[in-house]
């Protein structure tokens, strides 16, 4: 018996196709959800139009704290997007089978968040009309240009890694979706790229997936390492750290793992796919998340204990600000609620059941969001030269309504991309699930051909 379907009886290709395409056809609640997302985005858009018209002055950012919620959200988005690489590349390459039904979910999350990460950078620009100058005058010596390059590359590879496993599903979709709108059928036809289930085609697709899975590992490491270098390459207190690269990467896996866990729950309940994403998968995912969080915890210890032990001038301000000072409440909430307590909870089998997993996932991802805030803002409040002779508001920072609205637009936008993908295409690769069930290519081809 395969790992995918531990409890159920053996499925036929017919049931798999109908199970996985049913949610695509069923629109119950879908419109309301889309309307909700669009409303959130509409509010954000209004705030953004105002920001475009009146400049970044409408935000709470000022001369000293010039990286605010936008940049910390940017890191959060990049971080969450990294999970695509972890699940479909790393785990896929070493032959872990249980990821089959969740690999595409991870890839959808990667796509949605990576695309909006790029947009958030634009939101942070006072003059986005000059964005092109980044390419015309950008300096190769600056991590910023590398960041732009590597984000673009990551998006491209993620699109392909999403698309490739989708191609063999197209014949099933073409067959199952004859009752759907014309434009949808057209998309399925185009995206099938002439795939008809021939063995050479399967071989080619598997080979290409393998190539991309290998390629995305260094690119994904680069994307988040370079993002961390935006900070670590400056001599500023709190950012001037040699472990920022791995610290960010492991933190990213934690955020992405939590996102996958939430998406698994929502999609499997909403799409009625409990037979495909089972308790077994939540258990595995929970264990994976514990492992990731333990590694991240280890980096946290290094990142805070080492400077905290030495308390170098300047560092002391920063560290004490986090431990006992102005940021203590947020810091400890994030560290305890978003990391330490979830680690402890997830060690218990009962906590790795679907519902507890959902809540733990939510706690971890909220923690991950504010962890980025904790990394970005306190450092800016302590520049090397004292802040002097400036208006009172320059001294501190808390994002205002505009920034929250625009950030929410980005989050809603990423969720919207995931929603649309989940509405157009099955959330699991039909053919791979079928393979797991022991169904051969010939059987699948036969199924597609018979009418």
């Amino acid at each position: 018996m395969s790992e995918v379907n531990k409890e159920g009886t053996k499925k036929t290709i017919g049931t798999i196709v109908s199970d996985l395409t049913r949610p695509i056809k069923n629109h119950k609640g879908f419109t309301i959800w889309i309307l909700f997302l669009l409303t959130v985005m509409g509010v954000g858009m209004m705030a953004y139009v105002d920001q475009l018209a009146n400049g970044l002055g409408v935000t709470a950012m000022r001369d000293y704290i010039s990286w605010g919620l936008y940049i910390s959200s940017f890191i959060f988005f990049i971080a969450t997007a990294l999970v695509g690489m972890l699940i479909s590349a790393v785990l896929g390459l070493i032959g872990i089978k249980w990821i089959t039904p969740i690999a595409r979910i991870a890839e959808m999350i990667a796509l949605g968040f990576a695309m909006w990460a790029g947009l958030i950078i634009i939101f942070d620009m006072g003059r986005p009309d000059r964005a092109l100058n980044l390419f015309i005058h950008g300096r190769l010596q600056s991590p910023i240009l590398w960041d732009v390059t590597v984000v673009t590359t990551y998006i491209a590879i993620s699109v392909l890694l999403y698309l490739l496993p989708l191609i063999p599903d197209m014949p099933f979709l073409k067959k199952a979706m004859t009752d759907q709108a014309k434009w949808k059928q057209k998309i399925y036809k185009i995206l099938s790229f002439g795939f008809e289930g021939r063995p050479e085609q399967y071989k080619s697709i598997k080979k290409l997936i393998r190539i991309l899975a290998i390629l995305i590992i260094p690119v994904a490491l680069a994307i988040h390492t370079v993002t961390s270098w935006l900070f670590a390459m400056t001599p500023r207190i709190g950012w001037d750290s040699t472990i920022f690269g791995p610290y960010y990467v492991t933190g990213a896996f934690v955020a992405g793992g939590a996102a996958v866990m939430i998406a698994m729950f929502v999609l499997s309940r909403n799409y009625n796919l409990k037979d495909y994403i089972t308790d077994f998968h939540f258990d595995k995912m929970g264990k994976l998340l514990v492992l990731l969080m333990l590694v991240y915890f280890y980096f946290n210890i290094n990142e805070y204990i080492v400077p905290g032990y030495k308390m170098k001038a300047g560092d002391d301000h920063h560290i004490l600000g986090l431990f006992t000072g102005h940021y203590a409440k947020m810091f400890w909430t994030v560290q305890l609620g978003g990391m330490i307590i979830p680690i402890i909870l997830l060690l218990f089998r009962r906590m790795r059941k679907p519902l507890p997993s959902l809540f733990i996932g939510i706690a971890v991802i909220i923690g991950a969001f504010f962890k980025r805030y904790i990394i970005t803002i306190p450092t800016l409040v302590h520049p090397h030269l004292p802040i002097q002779n400036v208006p009172e508001e320059f001294h501190s920072y808390w994002p205002n309504a505009w920034e929250w609205a625009i950030t929410m637009m980005a989050i809603a936008g990423a969720v919207l991309i995931i929603t649309i993908l989940a509405k157009l295409f099955p959330i699991m690769p039909i053919w791979e699930v079928a393979h797991e069930e022991g169904i051969t290519n010939e059987e699948m081809n036969k199924y597609v051909k018979e009418s």
Binding site: H137, R139, L140, A156, L160, S204, I211, A222
Partner: protein, 294 residues
């Protein structure tokens, strides 16, 4: 005197006063000291010597006599006032300079007796009743002319003055100073050089003085004794300095350079990696398009 120097001295003196406050008693001047008479007669030359000594040893605290630019805060009085002149005899001033008191240092060891008397004569010269014998020192307007001996890197300064008939004659025995102009202030080259009987003073300019890009230096020549000869300053540009090589740090390929000066290893690793990855992506896209034909 610069403002900074004044502050420095002020601080020094202030500390000095603190240390000696315990012994800072009133001046105790014995009667015979008050009546002590100078062993030599004051002449204009001696007053002039006293003035030079005063300028470099006393003016920092007492200021220029009669000008009121003394540091009253530490108790150093203006020695040029009529008040002072009337209440202090030459002998008393001599005693005070020798002895010192509180913030006033003792100059007993620093100057010879004659030098001290020269100082007293200078101070006393602000008393209009004070009689100075001998010929009055005449201002002797002089001029300087510079000529360069390229081969031996030597500057010759010819000092001239006018005789009674207005004819130009060489000035002998005037001390001449040579300077190179630097960013902040002037750098003196060598010692004072007195002019010889042809009115000539010369100095060799050392090698390796950093000049501008062409090795140009700005030479300044003047008389030491500006009181007598006037504030004559002659300047000349000489090309004997070492050439300054201005290395613009943004001209090299460096991390901090412009895009066009990117270090080659950054350039190659960036384009190497980017092109490499995108070639693979391109290959995958190409293979997807070819899928149909398989």
């Amino acid at each position: 005197m610069t403002y900074l120097n004044k502050i420095k001295i002020f601080v020094l003196v202030f500390m000095f006063i603190l240390f000696t406050s315990s012994i800072n008693a009133q001046w105790n001047i014995p009667a015979d000291a008050k009546n002590k008479k100078p062993p030599i007669d004051p002449t204009h030359t001696l007053v002039k010597t006293g003035k030079d000594l005063y300028k470099s040893n006393c003016a920092s605290c007492h200021g220029t006599p009669g000008q009121g630019n003394n540091i009253a805060a530490i108790g150093a009085t203006d020695l040029g006032t009529a008040d002072y002149q009337h209440s202090h005899s030459s002998g008393q001033t001599f005693f005070q300079v020798e002895q010192g008191n509180g913030g006033m240092p003792s100059f007993r060891e620093k100057f010879s007796s004659d030098e001290k008397w020269c100082l007293i004569f200078y101070i006393k010269s602000f008393d209009k009743d004070f009689e100075i014998s001998g010929e009055e020192l005449k201002e002797q307007k002089a001029d300087l002319r510079l000529s360069l001996v390229e081969k031996i890197r030597t500057v010759k300064a010819y000092a001239t003055t006018k005789d009674k008939s207005g004819k130009e004659i060489p000035l002998e025995g005037a001390e001449v100073q040579f300077f190179i102009k630097r960013m902040f202030g002037n750098m003196q080259i060598g010692e004072l050089v007195p002019t010889d009987n042809k009115g000539m003073a010369s100095i060799k300019i050392p090698e390796n003085i950093p000049g501008d890009e062409e090795g140009k230096l700005n030479l300044l020549v003047k008389f030491k004794d500006t009181d007598t000869y006037g504030k004559v300053i002659k300047s000349k540009t000489i090309k004997w300095g070492s050439k300054l090589k201005i290395v613009n740090i943004t001209d090299k390929r460096e991390m901090w350079g412009s895009l066009h000066r990117v270090p080659l290893w950054v350039l190659f690793s960036y384009f190497g990696m980017t092109i490499g990855v995108w070639l693979v992506i391109g290959y995958v896209v190409f293979q997807i398009i070819r899928l149909k034909k398989l």
